[in-house]
Symmetry: D2
Subunit: 293 residues, 4 copies
């Protein structure tokens, strides 16, 4: 067998699910997280020689996540910073530690018009996500994001004037249903920004821009409007990257039954679906773009 | 080959996804449905002889669902009644037509403090579901339901004093996190009840009962409280059947790290999970219980 | 609040995942199971009064499944019988214990033309499943089954001569692609039948009947042929129930591009999908039919 | 609102599902594909100005995939090359066209010891996948891959001698169950390599290396062995990248029941799970590594 060196590599733990209850006030807080850890560094000995002396077990990553939550979580990003710091300390061969934290948001159930003190249900809207990355000897960096934020408008969206070829049969439309599930990631000025606030406010800006953009000529067009709105409203965001499926709602053709369909009945399609990916960035900022990697 | 007759059978279409937009007011309505159709009757010729002359294609069921939504949907149950009536008319060999309609609820997005007229996001809470069944020559019957309504409380739940054997290692607890995803079905007095209202109000009653039952000794105990509350508050409900997974949140044992854990950090487990199924019915009412079938 | 008695109910544990390794021969055996337990009986005190003294914790069910596998599993059904017996013993208030065991089948990896002694990959074909039920004072009964067995034929299937109405637009065809995912359950003569053998042989009979039935006029037609073939070949099977989705492969209409399509390119559709459910039973046998419940 | 330019972007269609039947021989061929298309180029006008004149609709991508399959598919990669060429022709503003094709492999059903001519079931093993990328004015490049290839060994795997800290509680083991689901991607010498053959042979090499590596000290260790084996055996592979979840099978602790467990019963865990990612490359080759992007 050849003796090839190990190329780029990293390892870690995914699917760490933990919940933290803050009982310090009558109204409890319930923070429900999925954590993912990745470590990068010099792991040639482990790969080539089977020498584990530099390998912190992924089970230890799991245990660390639970242990470091013992005193509660002031902010999710603060907890993430403590985690990456810990992993760099515990694992001397590691050059970069990365922790992704995705929240399943819950809200207090409203009973008799008031939020119940200790009963919760999943909140509407997407799941906030943050990635804290720290290279040894450097400051941590933080990206925020929102995953799975579905949104739909019943008018104010068009798609026409597009490029046609011999395989183009799509009719032009000046009024359609537009639906997507927003997955967005944004770069930030660093760990000290108000990440908890932005996890609420950036999606709200995205939603308002989506709703307000009734001159939409395409998902691409609305993507740019949403990205610009975020950069305008949130000084601590340096770039924002969207992944937007075009979740087609197709006006049902009822002509075979002798019926018209003036914007009433739509077929909700699963697939195929369009995918629009794009970045809006402040001048001079180079965002992470995984597909160009 | 033997010449065995055909036993019990039915057929139909699942996964019919359609959305209906009501544009008659400035505030649009967006109704997003998944429809399932089942027909039962004498289909021996189709099965035994390959004679399709009595078989309405399942593609026709799909088309019928779209065509009958052309003028909008006043109420989901009203639409379901029109569908079962149609299928009994179109298919003379059918004895029973059954339509299940499950709604993906959307809510108007709030922008600048007001609901937007034509932009929506998925609402919190579960998915309302209804089954309309009609036997030829009989009136239609209707069951309502709610699917996927997750709910959790951080205190007010105990599990102790249970039966023990040599395989029992579970510690007793007087204070735990209790979480479930409510799947409930309820029988009703018929098609004329206010099914649209009950789709909102019955889950609200369930949620309030769950929240208010701080003396909970088990999921079973709370199931009975929720069922009783529904029958007390909703005269048109004749029975209610719950399927309640016990979604375990396990207090993380941090003793290996020299730490206690006074109700702060929980492991969120996927499986295995407990399952509690039960019915509460008015006196003299015999509910449908699939597992006793 | 009303004081309503508890109606029908049961409880148990789902998602118990365990694997058993038999190392007694050089060629290891790897049995990978998902177990589900349900107990039925008089649990009024638990529901109405919060009295858990008769409630065996579902965590104990989990532990019992692991403990009773300590000495290996001769046959999955034998293990299931030991489990239901144990639960009836451990839980005096229980009238019926039910255990469902679903296998994830693995096969030895073939290396250099021979099966490797201790390396496995998931086998093709569906997942065998068994339900063992025992009522107190009665013998156990056993149903077998196969889940998720996809199968497809590129010719030998027609659908024509069907009932038409004004919503019927489906073209007739004498040659189509037919695809389904077989979910089948069968009743048996009891625990002593060769359930391990039938888990292999009954699906093989189903597959051969599906393949051989080139005169298929519909999924219903083939269902009856498959059911009859099983009852003919397997004397210990008393009835068989199929749930067969019709997984549509739609001949792609390329006429807009000036192309014909002589049975070459098909659109693989997810939904909607047809559903065909039916039973074939020996004379005098009354099968379980959940949808008639 | 700011007038920010559009940053990096691309768009396309996902979830295009088509099947191609080759009926030219008595033994039919059934090729079942999921296709994904992405186009990159100058789409500033579409994003910033809502000008769609340069935007080929994603619906046209779908139609093109069906039309170009009309005469069958000699090889999946050949079909992919025709697709990227077509998209570059049809869309003058595009600099890069990328098509990913993932196959759902089917095999002829064996009846009476012989493969049936036109009946198929899903084959064991993972899903082959290929990405064809072409930059305007350049040759196409091709990566191959295998997705979802689960594999497990019941002995021949250890994990010991690892780095410990105060959060490390994992016991060392010299004999464990090791399981993973191989997702691998490999770079190739170009479109003319035997991609169809490699889709069979590279996974076979991976499987054999996994099986044969009974001195495994870790998933990392086996990753390197598998990567080296592939580069040794397949001259047209230039690098290979693995994503290997560590699917934990945990020896069940039965001591609470007074039982030992000498490698018999294992808990099959879903999560958390370890993740090992790494590349093995020929000297001088720089592989794509998305996580370093």
């Amino acid at each position: 067998m050849s003796s090839l060196p190990m190329g780029p590599n990293r390892y870690g733990k995914s699917g760490i699910r933990l919940a933290v209850v803050d009982r310090s006030r009558p109204q409890h807080d319930f923070t429900d997280l999925e954590v993912e850890v990745r470590l990068q560094g010099d792991f040639d000995a482990a790969h080539v020689d089977g020498d584990n002396s530099g390998v912190l077990p992924t089970d230890t990553m799991r245990g660390t996540c639970f242990a470091l939550a013992r005193d509660g979580i002031d902010s999710v990003v603060g907890y993430g910073v403590r985690l990456v710091d810990r992993f760099l300390t515990a694992s001397p061969g590691v050059d970069r530690a990365l922790v992704t934290l995705t929240q399943h948001p819950w809200e207090a159930v409203v009973v008799d018009g008031a939020p119940h003190a200790h009963t919760f249900r999943p909140a509407a809207g997407g799941r906030p996500t943050w990635t804290v990355t720290r290279d040894r000897g450097e400051q941590a960096t933080v990206t925020g994001g929102i995953l799975g934020a579905r949104v739909l408008k019943t008018t104010g969206s068009a798609f026409s004037g597009f490029l046609r070829d011999e395989y183009t049969t799509l009719p032009e439309t000046r009024d359609r249903v537009m639906a997507t599930t927003v997955d967005a990631r944004w770069g930030t000025t660093g760990p000290d920004a108000d990440h908890t606030g932005m996890a609420i406010d950036v999606p709200a800006t995205i939603l308002a821009a989506f709703a307000g953009h009734d001159a939409s000529e395409s998902v691409q067009h609305t993507l740019h409007v949403m990205g610009t709105a975020v950069l305008d409203a949130h000084p601590d965001v340096t770039w924002i990257r969207f992944l937007l499926p075009n979740e087609h709602h197709i006006l049902s053709d009822l002509s075979a039954y002798g019926l018209d369909n003036p914007g009433v009945v739509y077929l909700v399609a699963d697939r195929p679906y369009g995918v629009i990916e794009g970045v809006v960035a402040r001048e001079g900022v180079t965002p992470e773009v995984p597909w160009d990697g």
